[in-house]
Symmetry: C2
Subunit: 303 residues, 2 copies
């Protein structure tokens, strides 16, 4: 089944566009998982702590959000053992009923792109389905021919894709705003065009786009350029964007939670490190931070 | 020691800029490694066949070239077992005296980029050094602030970086040639500027650039924009570029093998599949294809 449709159904159940990023940064893990940063511990034990933290985090948010977004880099730091942890976390999140958006930002020429699509969306013959992601993020710099193998894979597998269009970091405009029209508008036009074959019965396309919530003035414009794309909006919370900043991404006034995902990673997973949550367990801090985020989105978008 | 200097010393030993790509595409492996594509075989055995093929390939080219370039995607298709194979191949190539350029094309915002730099160049405390790459490839779409953590990591670790500037695929110009000046020239200027702190005693910078050999008319221009960058030139052989096409990348008339690397992946590893090498073992075909490439480069560039 088409990813955009599966996501739409999941959003309809939870009625919030909140997306939780799983960024198990070694240096930020709560004390019970400190072995993950212990250089003397066997790497497999360290990776196991990374997986346990991420799986507990999944359990805390399951049923409350439609999807989670594990960040590959924080698993790759522990090499092959980190890859084992990644597979555990993906399988655990899927079993918990969450959609999994692998934040891998892969990119390569077509023959190699096809291998990445196999790795994350389709598998090779023999790949356990529970290790696969429902969707992944992609970098478009190489050109639309580098995206086509992923689109073809999504057609076969029902997977989803989120192409970086306008990212949330400070200097994202340096290249993404280059030229006239701006590069990000060119990329948005390619996303809209390539995504036509992946539009589901929900009206949304499984070829989505990443647009930073830190650029509210641009969101509405890029939304118009990609009316059918599911937008993934990083930058909420720790990176400074608020619920009001993302309003332009949501086209549906009544079922306001449809069509975009608002991501928070550190603001949820590492809420216990913030003053506002002092004295709480990391689990309580996470629960409360997610409730606050869901409430903030509901107030800003649902009224 | 600075990557550019280590590479320069290695090039001085082998006196050829030939670079061998390790792209162990499951479907293309020679018969002795066919278990790699057998869906019924345990994944660990499949990955082991991938590693054995890649390590044999390393042994065939060791001493003849300065470096090899394993392509991450073809290991990631086998998940965590593929990651084990990647580490074996990287360690084997290093032990064979080759520099390892991990073709990973990673990119992310700064805090995540720092984790990727740890994963591939610096390691976390406890990472076995033999699993680390000497250099990796990067995608610049997010902006130069996404490259800075890699540059800082390279300053600490002596690692090298190759930023995608102008890739070898057919539609690479779609975004990379956008605007005036073209986006790739903007990226080239950023590479030149960011790379200033990584210039070694060789005069070359460890912040290099990927420029497709399939664009001979642009190579000279991009070389002028990045006079100190080591250029990594994909597109030779299977993708259609010849030795004459890469001439503009090499600034040193006398020690002509310095300053750039000419990559061939399938043309070497899968030479046995080509008519020209019919009847040979895959090892002989590989040896002969590499000798032919080295000879072709020498004739075109060394005279």
């Amino acid at each position: 089944m088409n990813f955009a449709d599966r996501l739409d159904a999941a959003l309809e159940r939870v009625k919030t566009p909140a997306l939780v990023g799983l960024d198990p940064h070694l240096d930020l893990l709560p004390a019970p998982f400190a072995v993950a940063r212990d250089a003397r511990a066997p790497r497999s034990e360290r990776a196991d702590a990374l997986a346990r933290f991420s799986c507990e985090l999944v359990d805390l948010v399951a049923g409350k959000v439609a999807a989670v977004k594990p960040q590959s880099a924080f698993f790759e730091v522990l090499g092959a053992d980190g890859a084992v942890a990644w597979e555990k976390v993906v399988a655990h999140a899927r079993a918990a009923g969450l959609l999994v958006i692998g934040d891998v930002k892969r990119s390569d020429i077509a023959s190699t792109a096809a291998a990445y699509a196999q790795a994350f969306l389709e598998g090779t013959p023999g790949t356990p389905k529970e290790h696969l992601c429902d969707a992944i993020t992609l970098n478009p710099y190489l050109g639309s021919d580098s995206l086509v193998p992923f689109v073809e894979s999504a057609q076969r597998s029902g997977g989803g894709l989120f192409v970086l269009v306008r990212t949330s970091n400070e200097k994202s405009g340096e290249f993404q705003n280059h030229g006239e029209p701006r590069l990000c508008e060119r990329v948005a036009a390619a996303v809209d065009s390539l995504g036509a074959t992946l539009v589901g019965s929900s009206g949304y396309s499984s070829l989505g786009a990443v647009v930073g919530a830190t650029h509210p003035e641009e969101l509405a414009r890029l939304r118009r350029a990609m009316p059918r794309a599911v937008l993934l909006l990083p930058g909420f919370g720790a990176q400074g964007a608020s619920a009001k900043d993302v309003k332009g991404a949501f086209p549906d006034a009544r079922r306001w939670w449809r069509g975009a995902l608002v991501n928070s990673s550190r603001g949820i997973a590492f809420a216990w490190r913030e003053k506002a949550h002092a004295g709480k367990s990391w689990q309580d801090a996470t629960r409360h931070a997610l409730e606050a985020m869901i409430g903030e989105l509901s107030s800003a978008l649902g009224s």
